[in-house]
């Protein structure tokens, strides 16, 4: 299995060029997480979160959740951007090129991860502006690890959907019935401890739960699960999703 690095690079570069040119899209996709941060953060300012150590406040609890949410939406969209390429015909240009399918998947992952990370970092900046405080610079690096793992997981998931779909028709259904539940179940906004057990069981099947919990461990130093559990589970999810995404993409036909 050969990897054509030039192809990976040029696919990544294309995503970067498109990202930089789509300024309105960047603003549009950042608006919702910023509103969540601002309105929920301010509205629940004085609320104590059960299980959280004092001092961080709701914004401390919320910010990692919203960063996780931004990565969830951005990465799954990036994974599914294959569908846009299909819609606009460009996928054929990619599929007919003499490069291994693995290179195509890697290029997609590289581009998608970079744009998602940039989005996540912008939201991190916004939460700093809204009063979020980091314990230290090392926390940020550890946070990046979890951000990366979330990005990989959901790009993989997006690739799986995109490879199984013929066109954009099912897109809304996937967003509303799969991506949004991932978000709400993850405990990004509300502590899992408050959920009834049935929902909590579902939450533990949601990769984002471990991603957000890990982000909290990294960024504010408290989490509901041991951070090593979060890390191990996220590495597992990321690897499985990337593998499945690559597998289905490789099997899909170009037209």
């Amino acid at each position: 299995m050969t990897i054509h690095w030039t192809a990976v690079y040029v696919l990544w570069r294309r995503d970067m060029t498109r990202y930089v040119r789509a300024k309105s899209r960047i603003i549009g996709s950042l608006a919702m997480p910023v509103f969540f941060l601002a309105f929920l953060g301010l509205g629940f300012r004085r609320m104590a979160v059960p299980g959280m150590d004092g001092g961080t406040g709701y914004i401390g609890f919320l910010a990692p959740g919203i960063i996780g949410m931004t990565l969830l939406f951005s990465s799954s969209m990036q994974g599914m951007s294959v569908l846009w390429d299909k819609e606009f015909g460009f996928l054929k240009e990619i599929m007919v090129a003499p490069v291994s399918r693995v290179s195509l998947v890697l290029g997609r992952i590289a581009g998608g991860t970079t744009t998602s990370m940039l989005q996540g970092i912008l939201i991190f900046g916004a939460s700093l502006a809204l009063g979020f405080r980091l314990p230290g610079a090392g926390a940020l690096l550890f946070g990046f690890v979890f951000m990366l793992l979330i990005a990989f997981t959901f790009i993989g998931l997006g690739l799986i959907f995109a490879s199984r779909m013929k066109d954009m028709q099912g897109f809304g259904i996937i967003m509303n019935f799969i991506i949004f539940p991932f978000f709400f179940l993850s405990g990004a906004l509300t502590p899992l401890e408050n959920f009834p057990w049935v929902i909590r069981a579902l939450s533990y099947a949601d990769p984002l739960t471990y991603g957000v919990d890990g982000l909290r461990a990294a960024l504010i130093g408290t989490s509901s699960l041991p951070v090593l559990v979060d890390l191990a589970v996220m590495i597992g999810f990321a690897m499985i999703m990337l593998f499945l995404g690559a597998y289905f993409f490789e099997k899909s036909e170009g037209v």
Partner: protein
């Protein structure tokens, strides 16, 4: 070696047979046409030959490589211009070409040289820095043809290269395709449902209908199978004697006299006109006007399928819709 060799190629989508066991070969340097109505299976054939679809059965080689087994080798040998634009509108013309050449592993210096070369070939140098979404349909088409050439393919597939273009742009692209084939020696396979396009461009053309080839030959010979051209002569004088004299010529297949105009069916009408005029002179008949009508490929299509291509398309659109619903594709 043949540029393309196809044996018993078949493609079915959920029980619908889009391409029905076709076999043909295309020699190196040929300009080969696939002519037929929309839905005849032309694009599916191209998609299989360019490795985008896997054949259901049968086999095909392109530039000596098997399209099912040696996909990467096939991909290296071909250029494809798809029916629908396959450009990234958010990139400039040059960036689209750069993307392409890098995907094909062409080095930096060579890349720049070739991009400049193809841009000037299709006269898009001035627009190279413009986002492709701002291009007109004709410009997009030209850019795509340019792109298909940057990696110097042995075989170039053009799927409906002039679909939806105005007459002037179409002419321009025709000249260009011809030049590529003649001067560049590129083997070209093009699909079209424009009769005049196949007629103007193709050395040999296959007429495709319902996934099958109903005829395959040069456009000229396809038209000859219809029995020939109609030569009309506007006469003055003793037409009866002239008609009598003509009756003794066995190369005249049919004749009809109607209001001073004599209509004759024959092969290679253009070669017979001088003879006809001379005969008329000998009989003392004045020929005021000569008109030659060659049968078009449209007549050929009608002859082989019993329908005109327009009727066939109206008919097929219904069938296509059913097929697309079954297959879940647009």
């Amino acid at each position: 070696m043949d540029a393309i060799r196809v044996e018993n190629l078949e493609k079915t989508f959920n029980g619908f047979t889009a391409v029905d066991h076709i076999s043909f070969t295309v020699g190196e340097g040929e300009l080969f046409g696939l002519l037929g109505p929309n839905g005849a299976g032309k694009t599916t054939t191209i998609n299989m030959l360019s490795t985008l679809l896997r054949p259901t059965s049968g086999s095909a080689t392109v530039a000596g490589f098997d399209v099912a087994r040696d996909r990467d080798d096939v991909r290296k040998s071909i250029g494809v211009v798809f029916q629908e634009p396959a450009l990234d509108g958010k990139l400039t013309g040059r960036e689209n070409l750069e993307f392409h050449t890098m995907m094909y592993g062409i080095g930096k210096a060579e890349r720049r040289r070739r991009i400049d070369e193809v841009l000037s070939l299709v006269e898009l140098e001035d627009k190279a820095a413009t986002l492709v979404e701002k291009y007109s349909g004709g410009m997009k088409r030209r850019l795509e043809i340019a792109r298909g050439l940057t990696h110097r393919p042995k075989v170039l597939f053009l799927d409906e290269p002039t679909l939806g273009l105005d007459a002037q742009t179409r002419r321009h692209i025709w000249e260009y395709i011809r030049k590529l084939n003649k001067d560049g020696g590129v083997t070209i396979i093009l699909t079209t449902h424009y009769m005049e396009e196949a007629d103007f461009l193709c050395g040999r053309t296959a007429i495709m209908d319902h996934g099958k080839f109903v005829a395959l030959d040069t456009p000229a010979r396809l038209k000859d199978t219809l029995g020939g051209d109609v030569v009309s002569l506007e006469l003055e004088g003793d037409a009866a004697a002239f008609l009598d004299a003509l009756g003794r010529q066995d190369w005249i297949k049919r004749s009809k006299f109607h209001e001073d105009v004599l209509m004759l069916t024959m092969e290679k009408g253009e070669r017979r006109i001088p003879e006809l005029v001379m005969l008329a002179q000998q009989m003392g008949v004045t020929v005021n006007c000569v008109h030659l009508r060659k049968p078009s490929l449209e007549d050929v299509f009608l002859h082989f399928t019993g329908r005109t291509i327009r009727e066939q398309e109206a008919n097929l659109s219904e069938r296509n819709r059913a097929m697309m619903m079954a297959h879940g594709r647009r």
